[in-house]
């Protein structure tokens, strides 16, 4: 399907500087829509959350949702933006069946928030992403194209329209051009969207579910010959529905555009569509004949003029922001910068905090999330937060290890069981018969047998080569199917051979 020639990524970066611009749409978690009192709940039967206003029946008029304005201000403040003392809505005019009024009520010249920044961490470096603006607007309805192979409108037999989403409040956050990131451009983009997502979550303004579309990212990419200050023609890639996709889509566009440019071609200004399965982008709407949206101030709404006291109240009530929380947690947990960075990179800070809150020691929790569970998530190709184990369940397992009821190996089997949907840790332990052998007489018997089976090793230990005890411990563990406490076995081995340590 996609035959685009690609240039090797390193070569592309050597020849060109990527310039990024990210537009993130966040659906606000208000109970009602932007301009009418309809509920915003996700997943209701089609066209059940509609009224004359959001269906654009003749005569219906919008009114502004004050909570949505408050959320937008909260977002603006957290992004270090200036909050406009006066702003207004505008109409963005274009025809599309899932947009009932055939104009989107948005903000144009006068956004509610502008000129801010978000600092993000990439490989231990802080990168400041500058924010151009954050403005309020409404979502469109949803078109489902039926028939045809791709689920896109071309080739479809008919389309179904669901207006439940029409009028759901959105805030669009637009960066200034992100320049000078070179090879790390895709990671910077991912780190930015990740940081933004964490921020929005902590602000409690959205459920920020990329999979459900409540956080959507459009990635603008252009290339400019290395050292050239003039930006190249950009493409805008849509349908980028996960953090990983942000990185992949941008990386792909860099290699694709570099190949086109090196081949003497030119980049078409267009919307491109990211395909999750193939990891490629394909041409969508051409923007060569730039759509004229005929913006003008929305005459059905009075301007929004948030008074300074209200803005200050909102500022004062901002929750602890993620980066400050991260610093506090690092201090509380006593982690090194490197350890903390790995946690952030693994998107595990929240999971770790929850595990610690559930009673687990921070170091043990970190080790579980970054190594064993990290491997499981990797193997399944999913994020840590998508693993079928809760921080509370993990904390329970860790507690049993600390109490000596489980060995580390056994604990991993318990976790495997939980991940496999076998129930709570206690149920897995019972079902799999995972009980630590604490009975010294049973262990002593196994130790004696192992020493008898390997007299040469026993002699070595006796002669002072204590590290040789490992072989006997291993044999005992094998004999007890891993259910013994290895430390206790080691003590018994040394005591039995009567080596120096036992003396």
């Amino acid at each position: 399907m996609n035959t685009a020639a690609l240039l090797d990524y390193d070569e592309a970066i050597e020849r060109f500087d990527p310039v990024l611009g990210l537009e993130v749409h966040v659906e606000l978690g208000t109970a009602t829509k932007m301009f009418c009192p309809c509920p915003t709940e996700f997943g209701a039967p089609p066209n059940t959350q509609v009224c004359p206003v959001c269906l654009a029946l003749p005569g219906a008029m919008p009114t502004i949702n004050r909570t949505a304005v408050e959320y937008a201000i909260r977002i603006g403040l957290a992004l270090n933006c200036t909050i406009a003392p006066w702003c207004q809505f505008a109409r963005k005019n274009y025809f599309y069946p899932d947009m009932p009024k055939n104009f989107q009520t948005s903000q144009y010249d006068d956004p509610i928030a502008s000129n801010g920044y978000l600092d993000v961490q990439v490989d231990g470096e802080t990168v400041r992403v500058e924010i151009e603006r954050a403005h309020m607007e409404e979502d469109t309805g949803k078109s489902t194209h039926v028939g045809g192979a791709t689920g896109r409108i071309h080739g479809a037999e008919f389309s179904l329209l669901d207006y439940n989403r029409a009028g759901v409040p959105l805030v669009e956050i637009v960066t200034k051009p992100i320049v000078g990131t070179k090879a790390s451009a895709p990671q910077v983009a991912r780190a930015y969207v990740t940081a933004l997502r964490d921020l929005l979550k902590s602000l409690d303004v959205s459920d920020v579910r990329m999979d459900q579309g409540s956080l959507r990212c459009d990635a603008n990419v252009s290339l400019t010959p290395a050292g050239n200050p003039v930006f190249g023609t950009r493409t805008e890639t849509k349908n980028v529905n996960s953090l990983r996709s942000v990185e992949r889509a941008i990386r792909y566009e860099i290699t694709r555009q570099a190949a086109v440019l090196l081949d003497g071609g030119r980049i078409t200004q267009e919307t491109r569509h990211f395909d999750e399965a193939s990891g490629t982008t394909s041409s969508g709407r051409s923007k060569e004949t730039a759509e004229d949206y005929r913006y003008f101030p929305e005459p059905d709404l009075v301007p929004v003029a948030p008074d300074a006291d209200w803005v200050e109240q909102i500022r004062a009530a901002l929750p602890e922001l993620p980066w400050l929380r991260r610093d506090r947690l690092q201090a509380e947990w006593g982690f090194t910068d490197l350890e903390m960075r790995d946690l952030v990179a693994a998107d595990a800070v929240g999971l770790l905090a929850a595990t610690v809150d559930a009673g687990a020691p921070a170091a043990a929790a970190r080790s579980w999330w970054t190594s064993y569970l990290g491997q499981q998530a990797n193997a399944q190709g999913i994020g840590l937060d998508e693993l079928a184990i809760t921080p509370a369940q993990l904390a329970a397992v860790i507690g049993k290890v600390t109490a000596g009821e489980l060995t580390t190996k056994m604990a991993q089997r318990v976790v495997d069981g939980v991940l496999a949907g076998e129930g709570e840790p206690d149920e897995v332990i019972a079902a799999r018969g995972l009980v630590v052998v604490n009975d010294d007489s049973a262990l002593q018997k196994a130790v004696d047998e192992a020493l008898a089976a390997q007299p040469a090793v026993a002699d070595k230990i006796r002669s002072g080569k204590v590290q040789a005890a490992g072989a006997i411990v291993g044999a005992v563990m094998k004999a007890t199917k891993g259910q013994a406490d290895a430390a206790r076995v080691r003590e018994l081995v040394l005591a039995t051979v009567g080596g120096p340590e036992a003396g």
Binding site: P52, L55, A56, L57, P58, G59, A60, M61, P62, T63, I64, R91, N93, F95, P97, P100, K101, N102, F103, F158, S159, L161, D292, R294, Y295, F296, P299, D300, L301, V302
Partner: protein, 519 residues
């Protein structure tokens, strides 16, 4: 009996109904009979809600019979509350205001057969006040026009001369009043659609201060200009209706959060105390060139009447009014090109070319191509152009600046005058067909009314008399500062009283008898 009831004022009918002298059903039936008798020639109504109207009338009658009062009943206010001053009186509703379940077309083919699932705030207020809605009146398509000739359902005829236009866009409402088919009507006014029809039919109509009456449920033409208003044959009836429909509505963000003006009291004051000492400004720019001699003569007579009533006449200069028409014809098309985008065949109304193969875009284009009339298309094209990238500042932007200058002209004028007056329309009713192919000539009908619309101030038209050159009614426009409704009603009432004293009959009662024909 029936004929008598249709000649009464709304105020009289309300008193008769409240006292039990007649029932609302009798009054309603009399008007339905009148509609049946004359609307075949007038064509004021697009839809007559006979059964629904009688059911509303019965509800009012039951409330009165129940002895609650002047008390309560279905849609007549809370138990124990005083009966609304217009309870049981019939009204004609312009077919651009939605009423649940009743066909609403806005005069366009594109909405043919659509029945709104909700009530406009104005409709709710009328029903809550026990006002009986007889039906929906004709208008220029989406209120674009000054003659009702742009209605997709054929023109309305002026009861004074059936070969002539009744004004527009609210020609249906004005003609229904002039033909005694209803004592009350609702209009909407964007650039003169209440005042100009009132002028050419010899009736009364008010465009309130922008935001004075809720626009929720009123199909939008130009959102920053549209205003709903009351129409009747007397100033008092107009004031009574004004108080029913006015007031803040949280569902219209542009509605003004201030109390309903006491216009009924202002009318009584004008009738009894007169207007001695009140400063009445004559706008220099709204007379002279372009105005019919008979209109100017009637206006001069009105000035004399006001002077005799004790008003102090001053001349005021509004130099920017000369740009008003140009600015209006940029702002209105711009807003309407966007407001009318929703008529796309997807959710309601007409759908053309949906053969299962055509794309949504093709169906939209065909539907809009066939569903909209020529004037609507003309304005959509004008507006689309004016808002285009690269033209916005020159057109829409400049027009908004002109609007500010016109607002300042008014502010200055109201420094030296309490109200301003002018002819409401430069000409009396013209023959059907005369200007239909000359948009510029048609647009000039609103020369006197457009400045007030751009400034958002209240303005009304009352009959100033009958033109000596055409024998047709002439309207006097009275304009006040924002929220100055009480002043304009006071002047209108004083003028009406003086006119009655002088001529022994009000203008509407001097209209020729209509021939009664079966519809």
């Amino acid at each position: 009996m029936s004929a008598d009831l249709t000649r009464q004022t709304a105020a009289t009918l309300a008193d008769m109904i409240a006292s039990g002298e007649v029932s609302s059903r009798e009054v309603t039936q009399a008007h339905l009979d009148r509609i049946a008798a004359v609307d075949g020639s007038v064509h004021a109504f697009l839809h007559v809600s006979g059964e629904l109207a009688l059911a509303q009338a019965d509800a009012v009658d039951r409330a009165i019979a129940a002895g609650d009062g002047p008390g309560a009943g279905a849609g007549v206010g809370a138990a124990g509350a005083p009966l609304s001053p217009l309870a049981g009186v019939p009204l004609a509703l312009k077919d651009i205001v939605v009423q649940r379940g009743v066909p609403t077309t806005a005069g366009s083919k594109i909405l043919e057969g659509w029945r709104p699932p909700y009530d406009a705030t104005v409709t709710t207020r009328l029903l809550d006040a026990g006002v009986v809605i007889l039906g929906k009146t004709n208008l220029d398509e989406f209120a674009m026009g000054s003659s009702t000739e742009n209605s997709a359902y054929g023109p309305t005829r002026n009861p004074w001369d059936l070969s002539r236009i009744p004004g527009g866009s609210g020609g249906g409402s004005a003609a229904a009043l002039a033909a005694f088919e209803a004592p009350l009507a609702i209009g909407t006014d964007t650039g003169g659609s209440i005042r100009q029809p009132a002028a050419v039919t010899g009736t009364v109509g008010t465009k309130p201060t922008y935001g004075g009456v809720s626009r929720y449920g009123v199909i939008a033409l130009a959102s920053s200009l549209d205003q709903v208003g009351p129409c009747a044959r007397t100033v008092l009836d107009t004031a009574l209706l004004h108080e029913v429909i006015a007031g803040h509505d949280p569902r219209d963000s542009t509605s003004i959060p201030s109390p309903v003006p006491s216009v009924v009291q202002a009318v009584r004051r004008g009738q009894t105390d007169g207007i001695a000492g009140l400063r009445v400004g004559v706008v220099k720019q709204l007379r002279g060139e372009g105005y019919q001699p008979g209109v100017l003569a009637s206006f001069d007579a009105a000035v004399a009447t006001l002077t005799a009533a004790g008003a102090e006449i001053v001349e005021v200069d509004c130099p920017h009014f000369q740009y008003a028409l140009a600015a209006y014809y940029l702002i209105l098309p711009s807003e309407c090109s966007s407001n009318l985008a929703r008529f796309d065949a997807m959710r309601y109304g007409l759908r053309v070319g949906d053969n299962g193969i055509a794309s949504a875009e093709e169906v939209m284009s065909k539907t809009r191509g066939q569903g909209f009339g020529a004037e609507v298309k003309r304005r959509i094209i004008l507006g689309t152009y004016a808002l285009s990238a690269g033209y916005f500042d020159a057109y829409y932007g400049s027009a908004q600046k002109v609007r500010t200058l016109i607002r300042r002209d008014f502010e200055n004028a109201f420094q030296s005058a309490d109200v301003l007056i002018s002819p409401s329309s430069p000409v009396t009713a013209f023959p059907i067909g005369e200007k239909v192919n000359d948009p510029m000539a048609m647009y000039l009908n609103d020369l006197a009314t457009i400045p007030g619309s751009l400034a958002g101030i209240p303005a009304m038209s009352v009959p100033s008399g009958i033109a000596t050159d055409t024998g047709l009614p002439v309207g006097l426009q009275i304009m006040g500062p924002a929220l100055g409704e009480e002043q304009i009603y006071r002047v209108a009432a004083a003028f009406e009283s003086a006119y009655l004293a002088e001529h022994s009959a009000l203008v509407p009662d001097r209209a020729p008898e209509l021939e009664v024909v079966a519809k």
